[in-house]
């Protein structure tokens, strides 16, 4: 297990950091979060074409760069630091991972190049009204019809679901339950019978949609036949990427609160000289560094195909979500009244922390999953 980044990885980070900082100042975040689409098409084009980030972990055979998950983690961390508004997480991580893990060779050649180039955006439609990201809670049905399938049901909390060109849908055969009868399907965003509605989200920098399927024709996404395993691997990838995104955001909050504490004067001293303030900052630093260790370790484990990767993904998701949320709460607190205003930027990260905490299931769920996986090992 590698516990430090190589010089090449540090250089890669510097390139991504410069790009994201340049393209995503909070003025830009605020502009984009109020648009329906939620991202800037030109920045997305540069991100995909100039930097090649959308295909970072996609094998070279399908137009990707063939990098490992440590680099994916670096990209997500830097995007999280600057709250970049883009379909990167929904399309390039979740949907792309599902295709990489679950599609047939022909489908990969067909679908991946346009996602890698950024010409198309995909989404993963997995969770439903029950609000869980796992195979068991899927109710939307896929019934065989000739050589294809027909989908009926509803998906919710779908990242970039209202803008995606391509929808990867998790569904089950009618009459099945639990892990039985689960499959993954591909649907065009404009398919007839598919209704899409953007949801009103707490975190306006991350767009979610509700998708209603009424007799929608779909093609099965299949290679291995074990869609449950594909969904698990995809969600593990998502949890690890999101964990790295969260530590970037938490670090940005810490930097901002320490800077503020060194400027703000009360009682004739900077508030950063009060132990009540600086001890909190020390605890936040510890929290953020422990969270980084969890996120980095999980990314490294995924890059090395560690058999324990599911447990490590859950460890990382739970640890970073709690740390990010605690950091966000304390950041607003330490800023005092100004931190509660719309004009001050801290609430943008607070809301991203909240959406990251719940997305792909909350810390309690991941702690339970971690213990269950340890029991299987023991």
């Amino acid at each position: 297990m590698q516990f430090n980044f190589t010089d090449e990885q540090e250089q890669f980070r510097a390139v991504v950091q410069r790009f994201v900082r340049d393209k995503s100042p909070t003025t830009e975040v605020r502009r984009l979060m109020q648009t329906a689409e939620g991202f800037d098409r030109e920045v997305w084009r540069q991100l995909c074409e100039d930097l090649g980030l959308a295909g970072l972990h996609v094998p070279e055979a399908y137009g990707g760069a063939g990098f490992g998950f440590v680099e994916v983690g670096i990209v997500n961390e830097e995007m999280g630091r600057s709250l970049l508004c883009s379909p990167y997480f929904g399309s390039s991580i979740l949907a792309t991972s599902a295709i990489v893990h679950g599609a047939s060779e022909t489908q990969k050649r067909d679908l991946l190049p346009s996602l890698v180039s950024g010409k198309k955006i995909a989404c993963l439609a997995l969770a439903e009204a029950s609000g869980h990201w796992n195979s068991d809670s899927i109710e939307l049905t896929a019934a065989q019809s000739g050589r294809g399938f027909v989908l009926n049901g509803q998906k919710k909390f779908v990242l970039d679901g209202h803008t995606a060109d391509l929808v990867i849908v998790a569904a089950r055969q009618p009459g099945t339950s639990g892990a039985d009868g689960i499959g993954l399907f591909v649907v065009e965003g404009t398919a007839s019978g598919l209704e899409r509605r953007a949801l009103d989200t707490i975190d306006e920098t991350r767009k979610l949609a509700e998708l209603s399927f009424n007799e929608v024709s779909a093609q099965a996404l299949n290679d291995s036949g074990d869609a449950v395993a594909v969904i698990t691997r995809t969600l593990d990838d998502g949890a690890i990427a999101l964990a790295n995104e969260m530590v970037g955001g938490a670090q940005a909050l810490l930097d901002s609160v320490v800077e503020y504490a060194q400027l703000r004067m009360q009682f004739g001293r900077v508030i950063g000289s009060f132990q009540a303030v600086k001890h909190k900052c020390a605890e936040i630093l510890l929290d953020v560094e422990l969270a980084k260790s969890a996120a980095y370790y999980a990314a490294e484990a995924r890059a090395e195909n560690d058999p324990d990767v599911s447990a490590l993904a859950s460890l990382a998701k739970a640890t970073t979500a709690d740390a990010y949320m605690r950091t966000a709460i304390e950041s607003i607190q330490l800023h005092g009244g100004i931190g509660f205003t719309w004009d001050h930027d801290t609430h943008l990260w607070y809301k991203r922390a909240k959406s990251s905490e719940v997305l792909l299931d909350d810390p309690s769920y991941h702690r339970e999953r971690y213990v269950s996986l340890q029991e299987v090992l023991a």
């Binding site: 516990f3 000289s273 132990q275 600086k278 020390a282 422990l290 739970a318």
Partner: protein, 419 residues
């Protein structure tokens, strides 16, 4: 260091041990031989009983000792801190008087720094050293001195100038513990053990040649000791290792280790013993409770991320990169881990957490955890001091205004407790 050099060192020590090692010789006689040859502490200077080898080469030498089963110099207890301090700060006359008997184990040492009135603020010491003709006369009280009850010598931090600012009025002395006017009392801790002592001084004499460094430079000398203590803290776990071979020299070494290690026997429990959590949860069937599962997961995740954070710090160091913030966080992290572990052990134990000794879970180990964990966030720098260090040195935040400038005489302090 080239591998050629490493091979040469390995050959040299191997040859020397083959020619000299004799398990039937007396412990002190053998260690004198080690001191003469320099192989007992090969990283010490050649002039002072060592061979001037880089510290990185000591594992090569240690491995050869282990291979042949040879006993090393006395390394356990406070004596190596004392030795490191004297090597750095003492004069040649003091080094030649004391170093050899530290290595042979003839002398044990103790540290006399903390006081009832100065814990976190160590430089606020009020134990006084006053001149009387040539001698120094010591009066006052020290606390938290491990091994003071059997030590021959002590490292003493005492105030020699009350008009100088706090840190500049301290001097550092080598104190003969076997003399009138010194009273050592065991200090019983909340976990029932008595690993430390309080030491009272009434008109105790210290000859002028026992002053280390110069008058008023005691704080810098004490800082040297503490720097070595922090560096050596990780080694504590290895201290207790003794050979199970039979022979006179092994018997003598085992007796020495048993005496010196006695105060440390509860130390593993103060970490919270995370290693026991999973087996305990299985054996008690408490993992059937969802609340327990959540708490166990929180603890295991915290403990693993703390360990990985330490590994990140070590990896950065090995790369020769500047250490990031992760390097300063270990102690605070271990306090969190210890407290969380005690809570989870309680949750798992249920009503059994009411009992200790043979009535308690795991033959009293769980109770000892619950009663020892509070030491972790205090000993070696409290969590509050750690947070000051982290916020001021890592985050570069402003220091709290201080009230202890000017002559120490005028600094507000605790009232001295009289016996």
């Amino acid at each position: 260091m080239s591998s050629h050099n490493e091979n040469k060192i390995q050959n040299d020590i191997r040859t020397w041990l083959e020619e000299n090692w004799d398990p039937d010789v007396g412990l002190i006689e053998w260690r004198n031989k080690l001191a003469d040859s320099g192989w007992g502490v090969p990283h010490w200077p050649e002039q002072w009983l060592g061979r001037g080898l880089p510290v990185a080469m000591t594992p090569v030498v240690d491995a050869e000792f282990e291979r042949i089963g040879a006993v090393g110099v006395a390394k356990i207890g406070i004596r190596m801190l004392a030795a490191a301090t004297l090597l750095d700060c003492a004069n040649d006359e003091q080094k030649s008087r004391f170093l050899r008997r530290m290595l042979t184990g003839e002398d044990t040492w103790c540290q006399l720094f903390s006081e009832p009135g100065s814990g976190s603020d160590l430089a606020g010491a009020t134990t006084r050293a006053d001149r009387d003709g040539g001698n120094w006369i010591i009066n006052g009280q020290k606390l938290w001195s491990t091994s003071a009850h059997h030590a021959e010598w002590g490292l003493l931090l005492a105030r020699t100038d009350w008009d100088a600012p706090k840190h500049q009025g301290l001097s550092f002395f080598i104190l003969d513990m076997r003399q009138d006017g010194i009273e050592v009392q065991p200090l019983k801790q909340m976990n029932g053990h008595a690993s430390f002592n309080q030491v009272f001084f009434t008109d105790v004499h210290v000859p002028p040649e026992n002053l280390v460094s110069t008058i008023g430079n005691g704080w810098n000398v004490a800082m040297t000791t503490l720097a070595h203590e922090r560096r050596g803290a990780d080694a504590l776990r290895r201290w207790g290792k003794v050979s199970d071979r039979s022979g006179r020299i092994y018997d003598e070494e085992r007796a020495e280790v048993a005496t010196v290690m006695e105060p440390y026997k509860w130390y593993p429990q103060r970490t919270g013993r995370v290693d026991l959590v999973w087996p305990r949860a299985i054996e008690t069937d408490r993992l059937s409770d969802p609340a327990v599962r959540q708490e166990v997961a929180k603890l295991l995740m915290l403990s693993r991320t703390a360990e990985w954070t330490a590994q990140r710090a070590r990896a950065a160091q090995a790369d020769g990169r500047p250490q990031g913030p992760e390097g300063s966080l270990g102690k605070l992290a271990s306090s969190h881990v210890a407290r969380a572990a005690a809570r989870v052990h309680t949750l798992i134990g249920g009503a059994d957490a009411l009992l200790k000794g043979t009535d308690g879970a795991l033959n009293g180990i769980i109770a000892e955890i619950l009663l020892s964990v509070p030491a972790t966030s205090i000993a070696g720098g409290t969590d509050e001091i750690q947070r000051n260090i982290i916020s001021e040195r890592v985050l570069q935040m402003a220091k709290e205004p201080r009230m202890d400038g000017g002559p120490f005489r005028d600094v507000p302090k605790n009232s001295t407790r009289k016996r």
